[in-house]
Symmetry: C2
Subunit: 273 residues, 2 copies
């Protein structure tokens, strides 16, 4: 999916919501425990009209080994067949030497055929560029993450006073552009969005951390929105595990709808719709 | 496997060789094309007596999706059942927010039951520590990698002149120690081993990049060896894909034997055996 198609979907659905499909076995209703695909299917059916993206995090599938990865593949296929307008992000945070990253790219872009992969920048250029050669596919590079550990290295300043996350933004602009690269910027880093928009004014940002992790949607929008929206705001636990009971899917739908309505208003206020 | 057991195995086998099980379909002999487990099985049978560790890189399995991950699981099981003294490293380069890293740890340490996982440090403390709570299991943290892209961020110096890889070494020493944490240090960074040993004098280092990537074993040993050896030197393509023909396994055995013999001599010269 290219950038214009994504923007069109955002405008049509009045939403820049990404639902994180991170099914935690401990939090699933009793009758679906361990049945990752069946759980996801109900979540997808209940939330698809409010969301423009789904983001399965591979860890929640790999916890069950190859059987879990099969459920991930079934989930992607189900979205593609039933909601072909929805952008699918494999939240994998991969990154390895060139010939190895190429294998990750082939696996996720060719075999499973997702739209985007999250990539970790530590190993530099040749760990990222193998993901960039695919028409209509995206790298979503970790820049500033939503967790406490983001303090350990990402804010570390170099000799010129430039923090690492900023160096990642600047350096990666030599490898790709806003047509094939987005960045992860945590919602818990609200005030940093202004800074990031100075460096990456047109790039889409994938924003985790709203909800369970405490980030504020209105603050993210205030500092991060662009004339093309430029945001995909993710909520995982706050939607898919809002209820542990048999009504989990309808509750997930309600939670997604609440966020979509808030987003519709913010899109209108910012004259995007 | 704990540190002393690993050291005992190194002394018994007179080897600190790690064989990278990264089967590349393009380089496999015709009759085994795509049969990752069958290929690995022959490689393992031919190389087990020369090696103290196997390191399957997940990318080479995930390229085939869940079927590939199944071959990874079969490979680990085969090693465990037939060579229980061999240390198994899942080269996964994972790392995510705390509750997600916990899922990766459960998947690889509990479900598949490998001995060690390579972890990327960009997301900091809570992305690494969930991997550390397992008795006899190891985190192998990326410090200084063997690829060209290592230049992009890992060498970047902070305000005090400390490069990022050194900051990773120092900071991570607050999270684990040489009984549950090793570091990846590329063989192509030979002269840097002296520097790294100043910061991490007792830690095991996993050293990729000897062979296909051009690193020198003698230089790595010269600057990196400790009284406990403290090195696991990996070779992947240079062993498993040394031949594309039906004789690939016996050629792999010969290549592993050559490295083991060189290692035996270096261990003797350094009075470790």
């Amino acid at each position: 999916m290219n950038k214009q198609e994504l923007i069109n979907n955002i405008k049509a659905k009045k939403s820049f919501l990404c639902v994180g499909l991170d099914p935690d076995i401990e939090k699933m209703p009793e009758h679906l425990k361990g049945k990752l695909f069946e759980f996801n299917k109900e979540i997808i059916d209940a939330t698809a009209k409010y969301t423009v993206a789904y983001k399965p995090n591979l860890a929640f599938y790999e916890v069950l080994g190859s059987e879990g990865v099969k459920a991930f593949e079934e989930t992607v296929k189900y979205i593609q067949e039933n909601h072909p307008d929805i952008f699918i992000i494999a939240d994998a945070k991969r990154g390895d030497i060139g010939n190895t990253s190429k294998m990750y790219a082939k696996g996720l872009f060719e075999h499973t055929n997702v739209d985007a992969i999250t990539v970790a920048p530590y190993m530099g250029e040749d760990s990222v560029t193998p993901f960039l050669g695919y028409e209509g596919k995206w790298v979503i590079l970790l820049a500033l993450t939503s967790n406490k550990g983001s303090q350990d290295f990402q804010f570390g300043k170099d000799e010129n006073g430039t923090p690492l996350f900023e160096k990642v933004l600047r350096k990666s602009a030599e490898w790709g552009d806003d047509s094939n690269m987005m960045y992860v910027v945590g919602a818990t880093q609200g005030k940093m969005f202004e800074e990031i928009r100075r460096i990456a004014p047109k790039s889409f940002l994938l924003v985790p951390g709203v909800g369970a992790q405490g980030g504020s949607l209105s603050e993210v929008v205030k500092y991060g929105i662009t004339p093309e929206c430029g945001l995909l705001v993710n909520s995982s636990r706050g939607i898919i595990h809002a209820s542990k009971d048999a009504d989990f899917a309808s509750i997930a739908g309600e939670k997604a709808k609440e966020l979509q309505e808030e987003m519709a208003q913010l899109l209108a206020e910012n004259h995007i719709i």
